[in-house]
Subunit: 558 residues, 2 copies
């Protein structure tokens, strides 16, 4: 028999790589408010207020300026400053480990309620697996190689998280933070499918028309021959046939119209009636081509069209979160070296530019990748270490290929979406922004597991050459000849991240354990949600952690 079934079960389909890297501490946090000069813009003023007083102060100021964000969605009651006024107490000090999506969301929500947050981030930047590369950006890898993006102005590469489903909380944060969104094309009928069982790539629309046509025909004819009579009434069968005629584009004889216009055209209709791409292969050849997997690619609840992306790059989200938190509350380049519960607080030791240091706080929220956390000295107990070791890091990689000419639009009429293949590149993604502009960036592979391992082991030059050799099978020589620049990422070789995401073999007792704090240390991250590898998972987990923390603070006798 064959492979499993539901495309939604098992490890999440690789996506919006997210969250925190490692983190650290710093002895004291000094905050200086920027001088409010004459030409200060409203936004600069708010950033200044945020820097001086954190997100809580900023949102108070926004309210005063008539800029208060839309209220949160219905199912989440964020920590509130008024809770503290009601109990007559001040908010606590919290150290957040990691300035990825989970860490930033924690600090953002706690900050709105007046908590005094410090965010420690091991790497030199915020965002974690939300990473957008632009001209001049440097990308270091464990093992030594450093690339510099040589893109033209206006071209960017979402090297990690790249798409958002409309039901995800990520959309709420975009709305609340004023991050404009646009459509991400997750399925394009004009893109190609290509398997090693095919002599040439076919348009996705053609592959779909043929599969639907033949299965429509098979079922309509089986019904007509009486095979469904025991299960369906005559009325049901008539309705079924009506549907199948539409679904499969069947002719009067219930056979698939093998010259269906749905297959596409060499020359589309205009003054003339058009020239079709030709007649479908036999059912047997269509099945042997093995394109079914790609035709059903966007059926999963997290992949259905339309999907979204922030205008200008995914890091617009983490940038807006970091601004709202207050940039001076975030200490980059500060890897954590140890985490200790104390009787009345937490103590986090770290390295930083000055050597080493210690941060003490009332509580800690740790958003480190679990497999990296497990290696750190801590006093949270053996079961915690064991639980942190349970989720399995998954390999994932991408390459951005920049071209000076948008040949995929001009020559191939592909505007966004993906070509799906069974080659080791898995997909070729075409950009969902900058339509008709001069150049643009194609994602030459986005692969996971074994396919990603292959590329992870290569130098950038080797990855690029391999990706070009594969892509040429679909797009021909221009795919290599017209390349302008490229950057590749192997998430397993990203410092303080070391993986695309971490996947639970099952959501069992270890998952449950880490939903609860270990002493004064809370855990958060996409890996602590059922939306592994999605930014929304990191955000949902952050909301859970800060809600629990806040309830505890309010219930603790002062």
């Amino acid at each position: 028999m064959t492979t499993p079934t539901s495309d939604e079960t098992g490890p999440a389909r690789a996506d919006d790589a997210v969250v925190a890297s490692a983190a650290t501490v710093t002895a004291a946090s000094t905050r200086t408010a920027p001088a409010a000069g004459a030409g200060l813009t409203r936004r600069a003023l708010l950033v200044g207020v945020g820097a001086a007083g954190g997100a809580g102060a900023m949102f108070a100021a926004m309210g005063a300026l008539g800029l208060a964000p839309e209220s949160q969605d219905r199912n989440f009651a964020p920590p509130q400053r008024s809770d503290f006024s009601l109990t007559g107490r001040g908010a606590a000090k919290v150290v957040v480990l990691g300035a990825g999506v989970a860490g930033l969301t924690c600090a953002y929500e706690l900050g709105k309620a007046g908590y005094d947050c410090t965010v420690l981030e091991a790497s030199g930047r915020v965002g974690g697996r939300n990473l957008t590369l632009r001209a001049g950006d440097r990308l270091e890898e464990l093992g030594g190689e450093t690339q510099t993006a040589g893109f033209e102005e206006g071209v960017y590469f979402n090297a990690g998280a790249a798409r958002i489903a409309p039901w995800m909380v990520t959309m709420d944060y975009c709305r609340e933070l004023g991050v404009p969104v646009e459509i991400f094309v997750n399925n394009n009928a004009s893109a190609y499918v290509y398997t090693r069982g095919m002599t040439a790539p076919a348009r996705a629309r053609t592959a779909r028309a043929d599969l639907y046509g033949y299965i429509g025909e098979l079922l309509a004819k089986a019904s007509n021959a009486g095979a469904l009579n025991r299960r369906l009434t005559a009325d049901d069968r008539e309705r079924l046939e009506e549907f199948l005629r539409r679904f499969g584009d069947l002719g009067p004889d219930l056979a698939y119209r093998r010259d269906s216009r749905r297959r596409g055209f060499e020359t589309y209709p205009g003054v003339g009636e058009g020239v079709s791409v030709g007649t479908a292969s036999s059912l047997r050849d269509v099945l042997a081509a093995g394109t079914g997997r790609y035709v059903t690619m966007d059926f999963g609840y997290d992949q259905v069209m339309p999907m979204f992306q922030p205008v200008g790059g995914m890091d617009t989200i983490t940038g807006a979160l970091a601004d709202a938190v207050g940039r001076d509350r975030i200490r980059t380049g500060t890897p954590v070296t140890g985490i200790k519960n104390l009787p009345d607080g937490v103590e986090v030791t770290h390295r930083d530019g000055a050597g080493t240091g210690v941060v003490r706080a009332d509580y800690c929220v740790a958003t480190l990748p679990p497999h990296l956390f497990a290696r750190l000295p801590h006093n949270l107990g053996t079961p915690v270490t064991a639980a942190l070791r349970t989720p399995v890091p998954v390999s994932a990689g991408k390459i951005g290929l920049e071209y000076g000419r948008r040949w995929w639009e001009i020559d191939d009429r592909i505007y966004g979406g993906a070509t799906e293949t069974d080659l080791d590149i898995t997909h070729i993604w075409y950009p969902s922004y900058g339509f008709h502009s001069r150049g643009g960036l194609v994602v030459g592979y986005y692969n996971v597991d074994e396919n990603a391992d292959v590329y992870t082991g290569l130098s950038h030059r080797e990855r690029r050459n391999r990706a070009l050799t594969q892509g040429k099978k679909i797009h021909g020589e221009k795919y290599r000849a017209e390349l302008r620049s490229s950057v590749s990422i192997a998430w397993g070789r990203q410092p303080y991240i070391e993986g695309g995401w971490a996947s639970w073999p099952s959501f069992g007792s270890d998952y449950a354990l880490l939903q609860r704090p270990a002493g004064r240390v809370y855990f958060a991250g996409d890996w602590l949600s059922h939306l592994t590898a999605w930014q929304a998972g990191a955000m949902e987990s952050a909301r859970r952690a800060v809600t629990d923390l806040h309830h505890r603070v309010l219930q603790t006798p002062s």
Copy 2:
């Protein structure tokens, strides 16, 4: 038995309503170049050059400024100024009737080659069925009623043409004219389907999951029971089953998982695993609901995702065309009253603000709606009149409903796309622009034929009330309560247009006759293409007409 089959056959599915209205003449065309002031922008300069010298002069200037447009696509060789230099002659004078998409495209292409064009337009504006309404725009109807759009700033309503498929020549013109495009969501899994056979609306994703699940199950089980053994080998059947498991989300027993995650969630997964929308109804109930028609809605070659729209409104295209032609070459408010072939030219009589007038030219391209052209006095012969009467005007209408709150995004998580119904409103379209902004505009109906006739016969107030009553069945009381303003259009009551589009009963000898000139009069319009009701049809037809005209000019002894 049941209804026909292919959704692409028969009259085109109502769309990008286009093209010309009636047109006219004016005695002489005076052109004044604007003074080139100090602060003149590059664009203003070009518009000035265009106004003074037409598109040919403008494109020469653009070349000099390094702004020459991308070359045309491969299959079209436009009329060229160099053709005239080669033959040592000057270009001819052409009068174009109608400033819709066809007329403007003719004048644009002829202008680039140096032809001296005058465009006569009966109505007070350019664009024809490319019509975008914004705050303050007035909409007159035959029969008396005049509406004024009361929209807020930034809200617009594409009352006619609204979407573009990526293979269409419309995209080439957007690229060439520098009109930015963005994605139009033509299918949204989060939108609803609602038929009178259903007790409540269902999300499109749910309806699709159930239909695909059950047909996958029926076919997999029929195959398993041996019903396909005569047609398929064991290998084929195994491949088919593998596909059907994915396609239908079938369980190990080949039954549709009636709690499939594809059906959607009441609460989507987050920290918890989510709460599903519930279990599928029986196959019999799913078939009886009659949603199949809507699930296959975007299968046609002209409807497949992704589709596109110009940023800021569809009339950006006709505005750019009119600018390139030169606004002073276009005479609005000038209805044609007669067309006469002369031995050495054409004579067009018209009304205008000053009374009546006559335009003489070497050639004429007429882009009037055929049924209106047929009523005009002309000397083109009886077969021409008969042919013009053959295409049948189709009724079409839309209503724009403006809301101060984007409840469809905030409450329903619907970002663009359409709810499909069997009510007389047919669709509810949600906007594909301005996501997350304060307010927005929903298209409360877009209907054709009998459904459009019903609304055409009503006052605007009655149309609005009827549309609200229907839409409430899907969206509840807020659909009525939160309405801010509305505008409706009945294309059959638009002066000088009088129809959504005109549809050929068959593409026979009448169609062929009008592809050829009658003397010195050429015909063009979407109705003279196989892309009826699409702007691309008007453009393709215009290209055919100007190519024929140009070849003739070059072959005529001078």
